[in-house]
């Protein structure tokens, strides 16, 4: 249906004719999209449009739902992530995820970040691990706020700090893609602004895909926007084009608040 009309660069991820079923119900219908690296791609659409479902196919989070079935092909650097030989734990390190509600482990701030690199063998010895933790917390813009209290519990931080801790946790394992499922919906405007600033800083390094209910947020943080409706990807284009001159009437109606 709609393919990527904009990027010339080799995409980081490529989805072709991806359909997702929950039991017999089709939640996503033949979506094809290229996700470029060093860009933020936003998925927008009303509740139940399938944007979160589709996001979760990109690192096989839907595997955890027994009734979910994925058809079509999704590639990471040209490699089919649904082929039988794919190591899903490895995949989810390469394609990290940040959720709606900050979900730090009930452990220290340090352990929250160190856990991933340790089990994935990214750090050898304490000094190495310390360096990974510091670098990740710095990139997540949290280091200055927590450097003197790394042994405090991650759950004792404020909501915005917890979310940045989760981002630090995701980037500690050197991902290539970061998926964010409404990462700011539980945060106040200041914490939201900090996360948005962070997303902007991170995009030079990763492919970032963000699902958001806030169209203003999609407009602020992304360079590409895809509009989903009833399981279809209706339109995909440059964010500025989508929000000023959408090609599809359904996109226009949704983003101008004329939906249903």
């Amino acid at each position: 249906m709609v393919t990527n009309p904009i990027s010339n660069a080799e995409p980081k991820m490529r989805a072709r004719d991806v359909s997702v079923y929950y039991g017999t119900k089709k939640a996503i219908d033949a979506v094809s999209i290229d996700i470029p690296t060093e860009y933020v791609t936003a998925f927008i659409g009303p509740s139940g449009c399938g944007k979160s479902t589709f996001l979760r196919t990109l690192n096989r989070m839907n595997d955890t739902i027994a009734s979910a079935r994925v058809e079509g092909r999704i590639e990471l650097d040209g490699e089919d992530i649904y082929e039988s030989g794919m190591d899903v734990v490895q995949l989810r390190a390469r394609v990290g995820m940040v959720f709606q509600k900050p979900n730090p482990f009930p452990k220290s701030i340090y352990e929250n970040v160190a856990y991933g690199p340790r089990i994935h063998g990214f750090a050898e010895g304490k000094a190495d691990l310390d360096a990974v933790v510091e670098r990740s917390l710095r990139r997540a813009g949290l280091w200055e706020e927590v450097k003197d209290r790394l042994e405090d519990s991650g759950t004792a931080l404020s909501g915005g700090q917890q979310q940045r801790l989760c981002i630090a946790r995701a980037i500690a394992v050197e991902p290539e893609v970061i998926l964010m499922d409404e990462p700011c919906s539980a945060l106040d405007p200041i914490a939201t602004a900090k996360i948005e600033e962070l997303i902007d800083e991170l995009r030079g390094r990763y492919a970032i895909v963000i699902v958001t209910h806030s169209m203003q947020q999609a407009a602020r943080v992304s360079q590409r926007t895809a509009f989903f409706h009833l399981g279809h990807m209706v339109e995909y284009g440059e964010t500025s084009q989508i929000f000023t001159t959408p090609r599809e009437t359904r996109t226009q109606d949704y983003i101008t608040g004329r939906y249903g």
């Binding site: 169209m215 203003q216 407009a219 929000f243 000023t244 001159t245 959408p246 996109t251 226009q252 109606d253 983003i255 101008t256 608040g257 004329r258 939906y259 249903g260």
Partner: protein, 222 residues
Amino acid sequence: MVDHTVKAFDEDITRLRGLIAEMGGLAELAIQEALEALISGDDELGQQVVARDKKLDMLESEVDAMAVRLLALRAPMAGDLREIIAALKIAGVVERIGDYAKNIAKRVGRIEGRSRFEPLTLLPAMGEVAAEMVHDVLTAYAARDPVLAREVIERDAKVDAFYDSLFRNLVSHMVENPATISSAAQLLFVARNLERIGDHATNVAEMVHFAAVGSYPTDIER
């Protein structure tokens, strides 16, 4: 177009469109009456036109304030965004059109020997085309009609042709009748003002086209 889920947004946009329509009506009337005053030498009518221009200035301020408020409070997107940006710009241009009409009206008392002035008979026809452009471009705005907007743009060539013809006419008139140079120069300014009104109506037409379809008319020289 389907209504917004938030009804108050529709009401705001309707009000904004109403203000623009009111401005357009006043500008059109100002052109017509300024020319009428000029041709008949009706100084009083001319002064009325000048006085009424304040109303246009007030409406422009009202459009500005309303557009800024809508941008701040509604965070409009896509067609709504284009419409409000266009309204903001159109209001400024229509206000300028009013200024040109006012400038014509101010010259009413400065023309002498009306009956001997052949070029004077050309001006009403030129003014009619210019006023019609203003009228039609605001109809196009109200109907979000890019086709009519394009027609208005094409009509500007007619106004330009009138201007060229009047210019030659007035210059030869001045050469032949040096005593009338002062009045003829006044008429030259009037013709120039009408020509500018045509250009401004063209600008509005481009904005109407932009608001309606998201692009400026490409195959027309800007």
